[in-house]
């Protein structure tokens, strides 16, 4: 067996040299980054396809996003990416204090980013610019956003803290949504636990399990099961017209989709003073919340990893010879910034 004298503590027993361990760690981390890129590829593909199918929705809806906040967020993430790169450099030179300082600066960048995101989410939540059946664009009627909240304004107490963002909806919203038994409105029975997508962060470093937090939170969704069945049958009965005139093409869908014979209400008023308001605007906000929500989860996971590395730096685990964890966490943080570099123009700067 290779004698143990030149086998330092941080070198795994199955590695022969430090170089081999470092290269393995690097390749392993980059493979993990490849999986993250492909994870976001799914969202970018959904974005591309929905933008191709509903260009007018994207052009109309993106004005509700605050370009300035988006721009500031981009700058915040780029600078925190820079401080992270400097921290990695300092760690490689074995300068403990400088590394710890720069890591703290990077964490601050993350906090800033999430704070701005919280502001943006709260604004969207207040104006009902949400996804699926929760979309209530009442501003469209009054032209100017926000001088008075809709009849069911939410007094979401948005603790500016970056971690647990608890936005609660009052009972009235749930009751109102519940009785119009549109099938497929799966989520509106969930309890107020149905907070914005970025639930509490309990991810081990690097692997975000927060999605499984989703599962426990939406256990209540199972209760909606019974309601689902009833609505599924109710929408199942045929809507063809017996005898008399043949069914016009578009009539087929119209008839099928409004069994209760409700006449389609008049088109909502002039939208936001910016041209005709297309229908299905909720699609844009569905994609917006999914993309920025999942990215937010990754920012939180990244900050968790940086805190773990910061603690180990202060504990003196690293030296000029061994600082691989700082390097690898740095790679993860740069990837999170990389994804935002693409998200910012695609969501905020649509023409």
């Amino acid at each position: 067996m290779s004698d143990h004298s030149d086998h330092p503590s941080y070198l795994g027993h199955h590695y022969d040299t430090v170089e081999q361990q470092f290269d393995s760690g690097k390749l392993g981390m980059w493979l993990f980054l490849a999986t993250e890129i492909l994870l976001f590829a799914g969202l970018f593909c959904a974005y591309a396809i929905y933008r191709k199918n509903h260009p007018e929705v994207f052009i109309y809806a993106h004005q509700f996003l605050d370009k300035n906040l988006g721009g500031i967020n981009t700058l915040v993430l780029i600078t925190s990416s820079f401080t992270m790169a400097m921290a990695v450099r300092m760690a490689q030179l074995g300068k403990k204090q400088a590394t710890a300082g720069l890591l703290a600066l990077t964490l601050l960048g993350g906090v800033g980013f999430l704070g701005i995101k919280a502001v943006e989410y709260e604004h969207k939540w207040k104006h009902g610019l949400l996804w699926g059946t929760k979309y209530r664009d009442q501003d469209a009627e009054h032209g100017t956003p926000g001088e008075h909240g809709g009849e069911h304004g939410t007094e979401g107490e948005t603790a500016p803290g970056e971690h647990s963002l608890r936005l609660s909806l009052p009972g009235v919203e749930i009751a109102h949504a519940a009785e119009d038994a549109g099938h497929g409105a799966a989520g509106n029975e969930a309890t107020s636990g149905e907070a914005a997508a970025n639930g509490t962060e309990h991810a081990a470093d690097g692997t975000e399990h927060s999605a499984s937090g989703d599962a426990t939170m939406s256990e209540g969704a199972a209760a909606e099961g019974a309601q689902m069945d009833a609505s599924a049958d109710e929408s199942g009965e045929p809507a063809p017209i017996v005898g008399g005139e043949a069914m016009p093409h578009s009539g087929l869908a119209k008839g099928a989709s409004q069994p209760q014979g409700m006449a389609a209400p008049a088109e909502a008023g002039e939208g936001h003073g910016t041209g005709h308001k297309p229908s299905n605007v909720h699609i844009f906000f569905g994609i917006y919340f999914l993309m920025t929500g999942l990215h937010g989860l990754h920012v939180i996971a990244g900050m968790g990893a940086i805190s773990w590395v910061l603690i180990r730096t202060l504990r003196g685990d690293f030296s000029a010879e061994y600082s691989t964890p700082v390097d690898l966490v740095g790679l993860y943080w740069h990837l999170v910034d990389l994804v935002w570099i693409y998200l910012f123009p695609l969501l905020y700067l649509i023409h």
Partner: protein, 566 residues
Amino acid sequence: MTTTTYDGHAEEKNYLNAKPGIWSWLTTLDHKRIGVMYLISILFAFFLGGMLALLVRTELLTPGKTIVDADTYNQLFTLHGAIMIFLFIIPGIPAAIGNFVLPLMLGAKDVAFPRLNLLSWYLWITGAVFAIVSMVVGAVDTGWTFYTPYSTQTSTQVINMTMGVFILGFSSIFTGLNFVVTIHKLRPAGMTWWRMPLMLWGLYATAIIQVLATPVLGITLLLLVAERALGVGIFDPSLGGDPLLYQHFFWFYSHPAVYIMILPAMGVISELISVHSRKTIFGYHAIALSSVAIAAFSFIVWGHHMFTAMSPMGNMIFSALTFSVSIPSAVKTFNWLATLYRGHIRLNAPMLYALAFIFLFGIGGLTGLFLGALATDIHLHDTYFIVAHFHYVMFGGTVIAFLGGIHHWWPKMFGRMYNENLARIACLLIFLGFNFTFFTQFILGTMGMPRRYYDYIDTFATLHQFSTMGSYIMAVGFFLTAGYLIHSLVAGERAVENPWGAATLEWRTASPPIEHNFHETPDANYPYDYSVNRYNPETGNYDYIGPSRVDDHGHAVGFHGAESTT
């Protein structure tokens, strides 16, 4: 340190009894123990999936209700599919056999990231718990594909099951990631990429797909759960979504996933055919490159699952690309055949499974031609022809190779020999039962019997009865296999170091191996140079006598043209 004495008992501790107690197993970082833990857990999943299959086949014995009603039947075939695919066949060969064999074949002490390897097993267990809980609480009835909008509107436990599969996806990613880094960074001196056993090429190609395809399944299931729990409206048309988009997302992962299943099986078969006919593999470069070519092509063909829903342009593109995947598989089959030529073939259990693989995978591959051609696929899509095709490829391919691999490496894993005669009988039973069950389903399919039908019109009745009878024969074969394998653990004859005369590195350490694998890192030789060992009639072992021809660096040569070594 005393080496293993050949009178059967080893003074030295092996990895099985090195540390006593369950806790040492549950917190082990030893790739061999993790491989054995994986083996036990996926065999439990295989047993569960098998029972569900028997229930499905029994229900189809007669038209109308035989033992269960429609809803339960839908849950049965969904769970059979989901458990067999996500819990058994995807982790299957890579995690159970791969974890055990890969570091040994590299002469290494362990995989690159041992802790990540253990985390991968615990993620499998967590995913399995989610799946089993969802089975009990309100089993999913959407089919293993969870197609929307049915999966977003049904009241069964879709969120639980999809979360389970999401977690299993991570388990698969970490195994793949571990293998890619290990093969790149932990190869011994003298083992260049072209002197690596073909089993490692198979595992390498599989690992690439596991790492690069599984994340898309992750995002697909995350979006499905977001749609169900929060009503986001990506895939459900009633919320403005597009159900065909779900199918694109799902199959972008799931077609590469079927190559995650078959590539390790091909790796095992390359080893078995060469070792048990004691002849160097024919076309080493062709087989190695075919594995990587299949991994690459697997990403561009997913559209052939949706020929009845896509546009003619999309169908044309995907039909043409699909045929590109059939070529590397055909090339491999011909190479295995050429390896048998002028070999010294031993018809023991691993070899019987390898030959059965060539037979069954041949049928599976060729029936793929009908499904790649557009005109015939329109008639055959979503019928029992498809069920027969993928069972011939997945069962006839991966499970048969898995059984061959288990028998081949059993002496090395547990230091015991299995009962050869019982093994041959069990192989025959499984082979016959399988063909009775699934060849009839080809005919059911061409006659137009759709998939996932609880009740069917009377013209299909006799074929279904024949198929169900076949599945019972197969079940008997499996119980027999389980019987003699478990019996061999307790009362099996002690295994020697190298019972088959294989030339790869894992056969140059004790059976079962010591905890850190090798006393000193062995020098790599050409994996199919059988002149490195000689048969010792007294002990029945092939003693290692060193490479016949050595180059100036002392590395074994044995591979013509590769005189220069790196």
